[in-house]
Each structure stands twice: as C-alpha cells, then as structure tokens.
Symmetry: D2
Subunit: 369 residues, 4 copies
C-alpha cells in the first residue's frame, strides 16, 4: 500500500457508523455491466446490494448461476423481474439501470416518483436534444420531461452538476475515452474543431452478453474490422460534448473497430493544432486539467497508453504525440470500457451523488498481465 493509504484511513472512521451501507438495486443485472457492478461493489465499503433484477429468462435464478465467479459470495439476493421488486427498488438509495435502450425510459419513468436516485448506464438519457435521440434511435423519446433533469455523468468534467442530481446519464464507453482529452483542448482553443478523426478500437464486452453471431469467439478471434462506420450511436454523444466545449456545431469522424480482447478501448485521435500551438501546449493543458484527479493520468514522456495497463481499473491513460505532418497531433487514450467506460464510472458518479469519497470501491490496481 503506497500513496492510497491516506485516503483509506480518512474515510474509514466515517463509514464505521454506517451499519448496513447504502441500499443498492441493480436492474438488468444479468449483463456484463451488471456483473461488473457486482465485482466492484463487493469491494465498496458503503453499499449493500438489495435488489438484482433480470429479464424473464433469468428471473428466479441465483446470481451465481449466471455468473459462477461469485459462487463464493453468500447472501446475494436472487434475480427477480423488476416489476416484482418495484417497491423494494423504490426504497433503495440508488438504482443502477443496465437495461436495453428504450425499455429504460419506460422503467425509469415509473421509478421517477420515488426518492431512489438513478444511475442509468443505457444511452436513453445521454442526448440532451430529444430530436437527436429520435434521429439516431429511430423512435420518439418516451420521457421528454425526465430528459431535462438528467445530468451527464462525465465525472471529472461535470462533477458539480452530478452532486445532488437524481437521474444520472452515465456516459458511453467510446465517448468517455474521447471527451476526456478533447473537451479541455477545445475549451482552450488549442486544437481546431475541424477534421477531428477518432479511430477507436474496442474489446468485445462492449457488444454485451446477448448471443449474436458477430460476437462469437470464432468471429472475433485473431482479426480486426471496422464496424458501424459513419453511423455508430456514440457519434452524436461525442459531438454533443465537443460542440459544447467548442461552442460551435461539430461533426467528427468516429470509426470504431472490434478486436479480440475482452475489455478495453483505445482511441487514436488525430487533431489539428490551432495556429502557433504545439504538442507541448496540449500536454501541459491536459496535465493542468487532470493533475489532481485520481483516475485520469497524462503519461510521462513518450510512454504510450495500452488498454491492458488500465484493465480492470477505473483509470484513464492519455498521452499526446507529435505527428510528422506539420500542424497536427495525435492523442491516444485508453480505458477499460467496462469500468471507466461503464460500471466504474457509474459507481464514481454514485459516490459523488451520495457525497462519499469519489474513489470509494474503485482503488483496485490495473491487472496486467
């Protein structure tokens, strides 16, 4: 235990008073983000899992029946249909929603009258403009009023709004890795808002646990391919954040690739420097922005981010590299898509919403190899 000791000691004295911890519900617990919430919350000293809901197929089962890695954990609630547990969910302090797009709006609408705080891991409340939602998701937004209350949970850049919010829209994995480096640079006008190219590579957990041909081992192993080029639903989410930062409408190139790894996103982002600006300016700005953050790290020198170096952790590794093409720079960022790109950031946001230390339950070191 090195530099994190102090933090631990600090909060320990306070959480001794909490006998049970905050009560947690996980809706849609049978997917990978549900399992990851479980993994992380088992190490969270201030929470207690009260409800685990799942689809019909899994309802009634033990959680360990679908995720045997938790065979050793005792006293977990059984999986239920969410309707059966609605009352219990409404009595929880926080409900994490890991439900499919669309379904989410409906269920959250029903829960919204109760005091339970909601951390939504779906895309349903990420887009502020409901018309953009309709355009990209092919149907009208079903909870327009709620959308206005939803707070976008890119923690490091929106912390003040997250504190005290009741409905949190947890960012997408790709948008997290893209916005963390790009927003401060656009705000500072160090890079141009034109011609931003995001070449992203993702692990397969991003496709979820539902059986589909394109996620089969043999279809993914030993190869790589681009997909959803020009029409991936994370593009408008990224553009929303960047446009706000640049104070102008932006269109970006976002090209996702699927590759044989379970976890991780690497984004190689190609940008144009504003006149007179250099790679050093960009790097200094990012260091300044994130130097007091626990999870966002600008790597020293020419060390390049690798997804495996953040695996299993809530960390973001970023570096800025000189391009041989004059006037350009390359930004590389790496996250674990299931942690900082989903369940980890969700817990980070929960911590902020509950006024707990932000790193609680999230200080596990990356696992490499």
């Amino acid at each position: 235990m090195v530099n994190i000791a102090f933090t631990v000691v600090i909060f320990v004295s306070s959480y001794l008073v909490s006998i049970h911890g905050f009560r947690i519900a996980i809706l849609g617990a049978s997917g990978y983000t549900g399992a990851e919430l479980m993994r992380l919350l088992l190490n969270h000293p201030e929470t207690k899992i009260d409800v685990l809901s799942a689809t019909d197929r899994n309802a009634g089962q033990e959680f360990k029946a679908i995720y045997p890695q938790f065979s050793y954990v005792k006293n977990l609630p059984k999986l239920t249909k969410w309707e059966e547990s609605q009352k219990q969910i409404e009595e929880c302090d926080v409900a994490f929603c890991c439900l499919p797009h669309g379904t989410t709006q409906e269920i959250i609408s029903k829960l919204s009258k109760s005091p339970v705080k909601i951390v939504d891991l779906s895309a349903d409340f990420r887009l502020k403009d409901v018309n953009v939602y309709e355009k990209w998701y092919g149907k009208a937004h079903a909870a327009v009023e709620l959308q206005k209350q939803a707070v976008y949970g890119l923690t490091e850049l929106n912390r003040e709004n997250i504190r005290g919010c009741k409905l949190l829209a947890n960012p997408g994995c790709y948008p997290t890795a893209a916005q963390l480096p790009l927003i401060p640079l656009l705000r500072s006008k160090l890079i141009l808002p034109e011609d931003i190219i995001i070449d992203a590579k993702s692990g397969v957990t991003g496709a979820g646990r539902s059986p589909k041909e394109s996620s089969l081992y043999c279809e993914v192993a030993d190869g790589i391919h681009a997909y959803s080029v020009g029409n991936h639903r994370h593009a408008p989410e990224i553009e929303q954040g960047l446009s706000e930062a640049a104070q102008q409408e932006m269109i970006i190139n976002f090209t996702p690739h699927l590759m044989p790894m379970s976890r991780g996103i690497l984004e190689s982002i190609y940008v144009k420097l504003s006149p007179g600006k250099t790679v050093e300016h960009l790097k200094e700005r990012l260091i300044e922005q994130y130097q007091d953050e626990s999870f966002v790290h600008i790597l020293e020198g020419s060390v390049l981010p690798q997804t495996r170096h953040v695996r299993g952790s809530n960390h973001v590794f970023i570096n800025v590299v000189k391009d041989r093409v004059p006037g350009r720079a390359i930004i590389i960022s790496a996250i674990d898509n299931v942690v900082k790109g989903a369940s980890g950031q969700a817990i980070q946001n929960m911590n902020v919403m509950l006024d707990l230390p932000e790193t609680l339950g999230l200080l596990q070191a990356p696992m490499f190899p």
Copy 2:
C-alpha cells in the same frame, strides 16, 4: 459489499494504529510475480513497500518504466540491485524473493542472519529432501541448514506451522491446484494412491517475463500443446505432499499443457475411488475440509470450475465429478496461477506470519469477463 463487510469492519479498528504499515522488500521485482505482488500490496492496508530490487538490466529504473500500469502510483522506490539495498532489506519486516532458482539459496543465506522474514516464491526451499532437489535441479542444494527451517506455505493445510515461521517456501502453482483437493482425500483414504493422473493446463505467465521463443505470442496463440511431460519440476513437489498425506511413497502422472491465456491453471485430476467410496463421499470430505476457508470453494451441483472465474483472485474453485468408468472420479480445480499460485498465496502466508487477518489485501473479486 455483501458478506465480506463484517471481516472488513473487524480488522479496520486494529490497523488504524499502524501508521506506516509493515516494511516490505520485493527482490526480483521485475518479473510477473513481482508486478503481481505490487498490484495486490497496493490494496493491502498494513504494508509499505520499501525496497524493490531487480537484475542489473533494470536496476536504476523507475518501477513504472517496466510496468506502466503503475504510472499513477506515486513515491514507489526505484529498482536497485539487491546488494546495494541489502542493509535496507534486512531492516524490513518481510522480504518476498522472486528470484531465479539457485540464486535464491545464495541470497537468502546472506539475509538469513537478519530478522527479516522471508517469503520465497522460487522452488529453492520447497523440497524437504535435498537429494531430491539435487536430482531434479541438477546441482547440490546450497543451503542445506536453511532448508530444515523452511516451512511449506500451502496455507490452508499448513497454517499452524506457517504462523511464526521465518523462512517460508511458497508452493508452486501446479502443486497448489493439485494438493488442495488431493491431500484431504488421501489422508482420509477415500481415493487410492495409485494411478493418479493430473492433466494440467496453464496460462503463459507461468513461463515468466524473460524473452524466449516458446513464450512468443505467435507460438502460443490459437493452440495447445503438452510440455515437460514426465520431467516437470513440479512433479516431485506434488509427490512430496501427496506421499506425506498417503503415508507412502507415491509416483503420479503429471502432464502440463501450455495454452493461450495469460493467467490460470486448470487441473483435471483422474483418481480411483477406494473400495465402497463414491463421488459424494469425496465431495463431502472436501466441503468439510474447506467450509470455513475464505479462498477454497467446493462448487455446488455440477458447476465446473473455470479459470476465468477465479482470474485475478486468490480463490480456488474445486468440484468432483462422476466418471462413467466405474470406480473412478474426476476432480477439477482452478486457480489463478499468479495469485493463489504465487503472489496471492505469498501475501496470504505473510498475513499469517505477521498475525494479520489472513484475507487482508486479498478480497478482490475475480474479474470476469
């Protein structure tokens, strides 16, 4: 946080008195077991890393230069040659030795006069009979007297001897996965000591971080092969433990395979039942043996252990399965070779040696997917 909360709360009150934590040295920190000790100790609330030694090539470097996943950790000591840090090591509470076979005996001999407790992750002190050592390692044992003091660290089955020991021989990865199920069954004479066949499959971390052709990505990916059949050095270690349990000299079949995964060992162990005994008798015996253990779990029903379900954790998953061949049974056990098979068990042993709660720093949940 579910059933582990109670444990956490219990020890928290005691470790608040420890300001700095126990002082730790890691010798040979540049290998994978060194990196894994670091990963786990960063979550250990009672330790403080004082010395990191490495070979000449790496000495003088920052630890994060060779393991960039720790880029975010501040104030880690630099890598030094062990000789330069000998005095400092001798003032530590515990030294973990992750050194090559042979070298270990020499260095530990030099340290043995100081009060530092040693947890040795090499094979140098595992074999009680120095002649067996010489036969399998091709040279005379260089620390015969020390060998007599060394305690074999299969924690769950040798806990009383570990408490208070000064030189601990941490078990090999394959022997850990084999002995935990087999020793209780042999002691109880539920299985016959003849014809035990251990078909083992290991991840590639077991081969270490030294560059060699056989560990290259392209030589390991998308395939499997047996290696060291009939002459793997873990065979005598397994036989030593089993022979003692059976109270008779045993020769076993041990066939290791290398396969494309970074971490994990799965052992499919084929045994003969003692007359009149059934699979149920075996399973009951193992449940009885391990029901109060934090890390060894006999799976329910017909759930079969998977290496990925213990990945990154100190857990051992075991089950016993009926064989179609009358009079036989199949035992399957899974561990993470780098955790329970090396650095995790080393920390577990350190906890016992220092009279700390045995699970301290080791309660991270397995990481799947």
Copy 3:
C-alpha cells in the same frame, strides 16, 4: 514443392479428361463445416459446386454475404432451401450433409432413392446400434434401414468399406483423434482396454456458428473449462470403435475441455501397457500402421504434437510418451477439428468413394503461425 510433386503429376493427366468435375451439393452450407468444405473444394481439381442449401434465414442469399472471405469467388450458386433444390441435389454426384442431428435422418431418407452419394457430417449415422443412438440422442432413430448401409468413414482404418459405399457417416472430431492411435494398439493388444482416459481440448469451431452465450468471445477467451463431463455424445462413438478393436465391451473416460482457439483438438490419452510392453512397442506399432499414409504422422523422438502445427491441414500428428508411473504410457494426438475432424476427412472419403487420388484437394500445408 517438394515430395508431393510426384503425386500431382501423376493424377494431372487423368483429370484433364474431366471437363466439369464431379457435381457437388452442400446441404447446410451456412455452418463452419460448410464454409470449410468450400475452402477446400475451391482447391479440388475434380469437383464443381452445384448446390448450396441453407436454412430459411439464409436461403436466397449469396454465399459471400454470409462468408465474405469468398468475396473474390465468382459464379457460386446462391443459397437455397434444400427442398427447392432437391431435384438438382439428386442429380449431383455427391452431397455433403452438414445438417443438425435428427433433421439429417429425415432428409437423407428422402434423398436415398436417388443415385447421389452422401457424405454425412452429422452424428446421425455413426452409431451402428440404433438403441445406443436413442439412448444418447433422446429419440428413436428415424432411418433404421439406412443405418445398416452407412459406412463409418475413419478413412485410414476403414478404407476398403468406404470405396463404393453410398452413405458415409463421417466421424466426429474427438473420435477421429482418439481412434486413430488407439484402435491399432487395442487390436494388437499392446495396451489394456481398462482405464483409458482421454483428456481432450477443443477449439470453439466445434460449437458451431449458431449464436449461444457459451460460445461468445468473452465467455471463451483467456480461460479453459471442462464441459459435458461424463455425458458427451462422442463417448459412445469412441467406445464403439474401441470395443470393436478390443473385441470386448469398453467404457472409457472422455473429458472434453473448451479453450480459446478457433481450430484444433489435442487429446492427451492415458493408457495402461499390456504386461511386458513398453512405449517403444506402441510407437513401433503406430509407425508400422501409418508409415504409408499421407495424413497420419507419428512424430520422431520426443517432439510433442501441437494443434497449431496441423492447423488448416488434414494431418494428424501423434506421439507416444513414457509415463513416470510404471506400466503406463501417454499418447498425444492433434488434429484440426474442422479439417481432419470434419470437412477434410469428408473430402478424403469422397475421394475414396469416387475412386480419385485420396489426397486430392487436401495437400495444403499446415498454417503456422
């Protein structure tokens, strides 16, 4: 081109007379064995693909729409429903059936009145005893009369019966790798029929292309587990072949494992030597059996078979290794499950049935790395 030149030149003169080649139908072409038949037949100088049938979902599509690796191949027939093409299939010389169990019996019954020769890659006609079929497949055999005519296509050991047969039951992948070494040894009584343990490791193509959770990338990558222990349907197929060779009823241990590779089966087979017999006797016998074969190779010295060394080829690599346990031996065999374990052996059998050179279209070298 080295030692295979001679063969090539020999048959070339004869196949020049064939203008179109033998007419081929592939039923159930959308699965992995269908795609593999395509890959191999594209290099077969004596065949011409006339019909590609698929399930409803894929019928009507171009083959390259479901297998884009064939985008460059021109003039392939479209996928049709088999009923629509029945007449055309019946006019083919050979129909490969890659259909699900059960369905196969029904369709083959309908085709059996026409002259088309059938190579069936399903398990429907492998078990000679229809009662054993019913026991393991859970329903009565629907083509009892046809079963009597079916010839089991373990080419090297049943060649004479294959020549001229009309309905060929192509062996399962696991049984192929097990029987090729074991049958000659049992016939010669060099090993005992008791206590044979087959620890098998398979790639994921064996599970087919149908979407299911257990075949998803994230469920298979970076780990291994046993499955269907004691109840895998290949067990009776293996026992049928071995019992016949040993001239006594045999029960074997067969323990399959699923591991992260696309192709390949490795079997580590643990046997007991007959009194007075040694590993050398076993190896000599196998060399004698297979020395004139093109596809079965007993490796020299202590070289151990690796699945990646037969990848993409119809070869079988086998070696016999001394066990430290007296009186025992270890046999290791490796095949590509999609080639020698399915589509390659199917073509090999077709070649025999059509009186073509047995190696035609199958001389591609293994692909490593």
Copy 4:
C-alpha cells in the same frame, strides 16, 4: 473448385515439361517469412527447394526441428550457414532473402555477380534514395550501385518492371496495404495529397520470431497499443510511393498499432476528397484499376474488410466508405501481412520474374474461421 479451374487446366499442360522445377534458395529460412515461403512453395508446382540457410544457432538442424508443422515433409535440405552454401545458392534460379536489415546488403552484393535472381524481403533495397535509407536506418547504404538496379515489387502496380528484373525489393507489409488503394487515387487526383492519415493495426508475426519482451504472449494478448508513432521505418517507404504517384513530396501520418492476432494488417485510411469528388468516384476508380487482378478485390456495397477474411491468402480486400465529415472518405484495406505483405507477394513477384502464371502456388482460399 469453381472459377479457378480454368486457370489450373491452362498452365498444367505447360508445367509437365518441367521435371525438377526452378531451383530455390531461402536465406534466413528460420524466421516466420521463411516458414511461410516453405508453406506456400510446397504447393507451387514449378519450384524445388535446394538451399535453406539460417543463422549459426540453427545451422545444421533439420528444418522440421524448428518448424515441426513440416514434420511430414520428406527430403527437405538441412539448414546451413549461407557461406557454406554460397556456390549452391549461386546455381539456384531464385534466392529469397529473409535476412536482417544491413546484413542483407552485404550478402546480396556477394551474390550479385552470379546469375541467381534475388527476391529480397528485407527493407534494404526498398528506398530508392540512399540518403533516405541512411537517415532512417542510421547507417550508410552499403550497396549503392545495386540499389539502382533494384525493382520495387508492388506487383499490381509495377508488373512491367518486375518482369525480367534481377534484384527485387519486396515491399513492406504496411506499405503494401497502404499503397494499393492510395496510389491509383493519387495518380487520378481524386484525393488530396495533404492530411492523409493511416491508422494501421498489425498482427504479431510482423515482429518476427526473435525472442523479445514486447512480443511475449502476455505482453500482447487482450489489449492494443500504438508503437513507433511518427518514426516507423515503413513511413518513408509509403511516402516514396505516394509522392511518386502524386508527383509531389508528401508527408503522411502513419500510426501503427500492435494487437493480439498472429496474422493480418488492417489499415483505416482517412483522406480528403478532391473538390467535386465523391466516395463513389474513388470506388469506381479502384474497381477499374483492379477488376482484372486475381488478388486485389474491391468489396461490394458496405461490406467492410476484415483481416480474418484474407488470412493465409494472398488477397487484398479494400472498400471505400463515406465519412460523416463532409469532403472526407475512409478507405479500409486488409491483407495477411505474412502472405501479401511478405512471402506471398515474394512468390507472386518470382512468378512474374520467371514468366510463370502469376497466381501459381497462391490460389489457396483464405482460412476463416
């Protein structure tokens, strides 16, 4: 066998006169490109391998001792030191040089007086300007005169110069995948020469078989990272080809990534359209360029190239995709780096140099899965 039958029949009659085939030497046969030449030449009906040279460490061994996948091949020459076989090499028709950079220039200089035609797979003769060579490789070019004779072997775009050449510089893997789509588009001025960004992802064979930490399984599996950003030696090779096509000095962005696959390169290339041009113009131009080629294929519609769909084959799959950013396009190309990116293209070039059918020995279908 479908559309390739005709080709086969055509050349068969001619190669019957060749009794032994052209005599081939492979220098540096112990690396992956050497093994791949062997794999492909074993299927080449017009060649005969006479010499296999290797470094000191491997000289004297059987080829199958270092590549056991060839255990079944008889009569291969033993590995020798190249000096011992110099005379024999000089009597060969073609020598493939798979030697390290630098060494190559020296050895080829010595061979250059003999009539043996040389296909050099190193980078030593790819850069026409010896000053650029010196700048990027850190030492003066040692064979300046030979450099002038060397012909760059991007077969489809330089076929006429290759025919009859004596020293062929086989292109690098990354440059092959980049130049095939970009050169025709630059020549036709359909895209602008500014701001071309090549985001490339490579399999690990590209790093060779020499043991190094960065190529170890555990360092590569389950992750991705960029490397050599801004200073990869393939950048000047790409720029040389593109500059010539654009008839102006070009600087490009080339960002290679290493990822967990054995074979394959995928390049996502971001370009700016010339004023008034569209994605359709680009695609039409590429179709026109390559419609009669056997190995370069522009995919239909929106099918995106995948590395696994060209695995093991000499094919190149390319498509052009609309970018959401106005005025831009995305070109994606996939090759097998060991085949079209090295040994396959080397054989294709040899075929041209020897006036053989260009596809000879190269018609194996891609292997997927």
